[in-house]
């Protein structure tokens, strides 16, 4: 025997009127094509009376009846080019850097990078303004005398010569904007509780510069850098120091990994300032992500 529910349903259906065209309706979401020009009298085809509208002789777009159109009135000048997307490296001179060192604003017994320079408070850059790091300029190349391990983003041959003449090392290094934001204000970055980002490789137009041993790029071949140092010493007429077992040699050779942005801290770590500890990922996926470029 059928259940009560099914019995009731069947009775309902039996009592209802027959389905026909007169008692069914489409869903509210149904769409209909517009009925265009169908019917008995279609003389104007929806185009109205005379004029450009019915004769298809419209003026070209932007035409102002013979008056100089807006697009023609202002000339196009290409001298700005792609200034809005070009990378910028705000400058700081060797003289300023020497002054910072002399006044103990920068500690030369540790590697000096953009973080140390920004921590002095005397140099600032803005990632939002396409600033991609610091550019060391030539003023003060005669007076520069500091054995420094310097890591910057842009420089010239003369600056490299001045730094190496006084017994230091210099490296040009690329940081992508996300990393730069962390580097400019590490404290603010750590307070957000975000992991240390891994640095991206330079874009195509910058790759040549950062792989060039002449500019001491961080992606250059160390053997070629060795030769480039000798070549520069011969060009500018100074002798390179022979650091056999000098302990300062280890300091001068300290380099970050291409994906690393802080000395001693790895990408993926979270620096917990409140509890004064560092949280490191253990998951394999995370480790793989922070270990590889892609």
């Amino acid at each position: 025997m059928a259940s009560k529910v099914t019995e009731r349903a069947l009775n309902l259906v039996k009592s209802m009127p027959r389905v026909g065209l007169g008692n069914i309706k489409d869903l509210p979401t149904a769409t209909y094509k517009k009925q265009v020009n169908r019917g008995r009298r279609q003389k104007k085809k929806g185009r109205g009376d005379k004029g450009q509208g019915s004769r298809n002789t419209w003026d070209p777009l932007g035409y102002e009846g013979g008056q100089r159109p807006l697009i023609d009135s202002v000339p196009s000048e290409k001298y700005y080019g792609q200034y809005a997307i070009r990378r910028q490296y705000p400058p700081i001179s060797l003289l300023e850097l020497q002054r910072m060192i002399d006044l103990d604003r920068v500690d030369v017994t540790k590697p000096v990078d953009i973080v140390s320079i920004c921590n002095t408070g005397l140099f600032k850059f803005e990632v939002a303004k396409n600033h991609f790091g610091v550019n060391i300029t030539e003023e003060g190349c005669d007076v520069f005398a500091a054995k420094i391990n310097l890591e910057i983003q842009w420089t010239s041959e003369l600056v490299i010569a001045a730094v190496e003449k006084s017994g230091g090392t210099i490296t040009t290094r690329y940081y992508d904007p996300q990393c730069l934001a962390a580097l400019f204000n590490p404290l603010a970055h750590f307070k957000k509780g975000l992991p240390i980002p891994k640095c991206k490789l330079p874009p195509q137009d910058a790759l040549a510069y950062y792989s060039d041993p002449e500019f001491r790029g961080y992606l250059a071949d160390p053997e070629k850098i060795l030769l480039a140092r000798e070549k520069l010493a011969q060009k500018y007429g100074y002798k390179l120091p022979d650091l056999g077992a000098d302990p300062v040699k280890d300091l001068l050779l300290m380099r970050k990994d291409p994906l690393q942005i802080f000395y001693g801290l790895e990408p993926g770590w979270i620096v917990n300032l409140k509890d004064r500890c560092i949280l490191k990922p253990k998951d394999e996926d995370y480790l793989r992500y922070y270990y590889n470029v892609h």
Binding site: P247, L253, Y291
Partner: protein, 209 residues
């Protein structure tokens, strides 16, 4: 207050960084998939070491028959480099800054120049030699001492290279071309002479015909 706190924290972190990445455990530092030793596996990362043979990297290749060549390498420790004030306009900076560079060395006792080049240098740079035999080169081309020193080095290197260039012996092709041209010129002269002789003959009476 907050700024000083932040400075303290950063200084403490700096000390953490120095302990972690101290020279003794430098090898324990982070090395990713794209570390330099993986990109260049055959390269020695210590580029502050003394290179094995520096002079050869500047050497110009020469034939076995040619005499010892100047490689371009100048030992700076064997030169006397002094800086003095430059001449010309420039106000306080030109009066006080030692930007002019003078390089001098005793030419005959220089072991880094092959002996056969030395008399040629004396020929080329007579005015730059002192009575005692010192070659003196000066430069105050720029406002920076380091660039003026580079200019002096450049001048010295160019001088020695210019003095050491031997006239190139002509190649077989060059000899052949020269001989052909000479023969052609000679043939042209002889033709002209013959034409001239014929003309003179036509002016005389036709006895011989």
């Amino acid at each position: 207050m907050f700024r000083r706190q932040s400075a303290l924290i950063l200084r403490q972190f700096n000390s953490v960084i120095s302990d972690v990445c101290s020279p003794k455990i430098q090898t324990a530092c982070f090395k990713s998939h794209t570390s330099i030793d993986k990109i260049y596996p055959n390269s020695n990362l210590d580029y502050l070491r003394k290179p094995e043979q520096v002079q050869d990297s500047f050497a110009k290749t020469g034939s076995p028959d040619a005499p010892e060549k100047f490689t371009g390498y100048i030992p700076i420790e064997q030169l006397e480099v002094t800086a003095t004030r430059s001449s010309g306009p420039g106000g306080q900076s030109v009066n006080t800054v030692n930007s002019k560079v003078e390089i001098r060395f005793h030419l005959e006792s220089a072991s880094w120049i092959p002996d056969w080049i030395k008399p040629r240098i004396i020929e080329k740079a007579e005015g730059k030699l002192t009575k005692d035999g010192y070659l003196v080169l000066r430069s105050d081309m720029t406002r920076k001492q380091i660039l003026n020193q580079a200019d002096c080095m450049n001048k010295l290197r160019n001088l020695i290279f210019a003095a050491s260039t031997l006239p190139k012996p002509p190649t077989q092709q060059e000899i052949k071309v020269k001989e052909e041209r000479l023969a052609k010129a000679k043939a042209g002269v002889l033709r002209e002479k013959k034409d001239r002789a014929l003309l003179k003959q036509f002016r005389t009476s036709p006895e011989s015909f």
